[in-house]
Symmetry: C2
Subunit: 442 residues, 2 copies
């Protein structure tokens, strides 16, 4: 980042950039050194994990002050991050009314709509006049963080309609709220999974959406800034899984060594056990290798090409499924596409591979490539087409299969696909070699 931008961003922004890299024992003092205004801005911008970290180090007076400073949904997130033993104490620092709000929020899972929502929103009654509604909103403005939309509720808290402040503003003061409100309201159930909530925001470009319980009673609002975090989390999880491991669920620098080994070791061992079948495949073709050791030279080259093609296909399809660009029922279209792509890509590599062997063989004095180097070239080229084709198709189909089995398509990691391709690739290569070279090298 250039200096100009850093300057423009101000003290708080700069501190936010460096905060994750500050040793945790220096954080409290750094925070205490901020001017009141800055410390407020800064504290609001921190996430729940950092809130909880500071809370842990605060003295009792600070704990009380800063916990009450947060909106109830942020306070609930902070409390959720605290160790069990501190939670009761934290709840005890808050006034009865807000405590009830927070306890209600804590009953939701972190990853569902209810766990994301703020319980504070602006509400009006349908029979109010526009002028009355505006006055009423002015009173509520004192306790509500931000006014995105005004929600129209009946006496049972059931959601009847919605409008923006802007819409209220442009209507005549003597009209009724029920006549000017939008009554086709998109709302989300309080138990909807956050990933789906994120998708609805992404599709509709809403700033905030009302959350309702099973009986249609409005419980709160989810705002788009929460969705930024949700989408980032979900993308991080997918990326980490696509690397062939479990999602870390915490920033890399904060994961302890034993946890890291656990998150990575599980998949690594599973893939290793799968890859043991490559030794069986090799063993099965030992006679071929003994007679024509030149063939072994190309094993890593061929297998890695298949794995690379598979890695490309699987990342494309996993992301495309996640973005809903393609659906489960599109598997056939994707298969046809990948067959064509695989043949084209395999053909490219086969050409380079064949040329390499033909030129290498022609210039070769030591006869490493044997007299039959052109036949070896044909074997390698044909295997490359086969293995890239198999890689593309397996890589593309595996996410569909996982989705169909109700597993996470992102588990179709590059390493998973490579291992599958390694086993099939060896069989393809040696079968082709046996077919082409029997009578000459074999």
């Amino acid at each position: 980042m250039s200096d100009i931008e850093t300057q423009q961003m101000g003290l708080v922004a700069r501190l936010l950039e460096t905060w994750p890299h500050l040793p945790s024992e220096d954080r409290l003092q750094t925070f205490r050194n901020l001017a009141t205004d800055d410390s407020e801005d800064f504290f609001l911008a921190l996430g729940p994990r950092d809130h909880a970290g500071l809370f842990n180090d605060f003295n009792r007076a600070e704990r009380r002050l800063w916990l009450r400073f947060l909106a109830p949904d942020d306070a609930a997130d902070l409390i959720q991050e605290l160790p069990e033993t501190l939670r009761q104490e934290a709840l005890g620092l808050i006034d009865e009314k807000v405590r009830r709000e927070i306890i209600a929020l804590l009953s939701y899972r972190e990853d569902e709509a209810g766990g994301l929502m703020s319980p504070r929103f602006v509400r009006v009654r349908p029979d109010m006049l526009v002028a009355e509604a505006i006055r009423y909103i002015r009173q509520q403005a004192l306790i509500v963080e931000q006014i995105f939309y005004v929600y129209v509720l009946d006496s049972n808290q059931r959601l009847l309609g919605v409008m923006s402040l802007r819409q209220l503003f442009v209507h005549a003061a003597e009209k009724r709220v029920s006549d000017v409100m939008e009554d086709k309201v998109v709302s989300i159930p309080d138990e909807m999974d956050q990933e789906q909530v994120g998708r609805i925001f992404q599709q509709h470009r809403f700033i905030a959406l009302p959350v309702v319980d099973k009986d249609g009673r409005m419980q709160g609002i989810v705002t788009v800034d929460d969705i930024l975090d949700v989408n980032q989390e979900e993308a991080t999880e997918d990326i980490q899984k696509m690397g062939g491991q479990e999602a870390l669920d915490a920033p890399y620098p904060e994961v302890t060594l034993p946890e890291m080994v656990k998150k990575r070791g599980g998949w690594l061992m599973l893939l290793f056990i799968g890859a043991i079948f490559t030794t069986n495949a090799m063993n099965h073709f030992e006679d071929v290798m003994k007679q024509a050791i030149v063939l072994t030279l190309f094993i890593p080259l061929i297998l890695s090409s298949g794995g690379n093609a598979g890695s490309q296909a699987t990342t494309l399809i996993i992301r495309s499924l996640a973005l809903r660009e393609i659906r489960l029922s599109d598997w056939w279209k994707v298969l046809k596409r990948e067959v064509l792509t695989g043949v084209a890509l395999g053909g490219l590599l086969a050409t380079i591979g064949f040329l390499r062997i033909a030129i290498g063989g022609a210039l070769d004095d030591k006869k490493v490539f044997t007299d039959h180097y052109l036949l070896v070239g044909v074997c390698v080229a044909a295997s490359l087409v086969g293995v890239v084709l198999v890689g593309s198709v397996l890589g593309a189909m595996l996410p569909f299969i996982l989705r169909k089995l109700r597993l996470d398509p992102a588990s179709a990691s590059a390493p998973f696909v490579s291992t599958l391709v390694d086993i099939t690739g060896l069989v393809i290569y040696f079968s082709i070699a046996r077919f082409i070279l029997t009578g000459t090298l074999l």
Copy 2:
């Protein structure tokens, strides 16, 4: 998605879900069949690519109607997606005043702050009274899409302060705007890259930010819903690059076969040419293989383990760098961490691998594993530790090196790392074998 949710989401939401899967020739008719209200909601929810698709199929009257229906920033995005030949015609359909706004927006690149912003925002003067300001905002509410914040500008359009409607509401009517506004304004330069804009939104949880030109004159606002798209695009690009290819820049189903081959073939050929060095490495150790063909059996197993460890490390570090959890200067900390992780993970695999060979060797009648099977097991185990260690370290360091060279760290794809590990892995394996087995098998 369950039926209940689909129902609750309504016609427009359902159509948005199926739209990408409708054959393009059916889209226009489907759109025309919508009731006016629904078609408006639906059209607003579409992205620029789909806007342009419909625009292309519309008759002249529809083109005029729907282009004028969009806010200037969305209209500019639509026009940017049109083929060159249609752009002038599209601009001709719009009124002079809006056309000027759109032409100004078109002068920005799509991926900078100016290309994301809307030129319409609510402005007041610093010397207005709060009551005056509220009246003035009511007038502007007719042409402004949404009121997030109210911006205080001087007569040269320079940005002096900001406040939310809520803040205006809670202050007494007779106060001056300049006394109640927040004068420490975070603003973004019009040429800031969208990725950085996204990061600022993510950090500060803003709903909208003002965009200013070099002279500090306010040009428009970027809102958080645009950032959802930006972040999604950036994550998609990273994911695709991490799969070992160029970013597609379009949804998978819309990429033509030649384009697909181009985006994937470039890296695939590059990696293939790199992987040709594995044949050289193998060739270099041909004597070892000839004397102990049993060693070749484990080549795919060992190389894939190194590649998998590398894939894990590289995805973790690429994502962590993208999220700013770690910085370039943290490379040393990461290196130490990955050395420990690599040794631990390598140790796990080495144990499984050794046991497999020891048990296989003890039970082996055909003596495939030779009489020295325990020594072979030691070779394989030691190589596994070495190769997983090298994979973890290379995978973790490559993104740092690319960032340092001002290249995209996401290019440190799983395939790229695997190829590097393949070459070093072979050298490690055969060197260890030569060291341990000379005098017995060799």
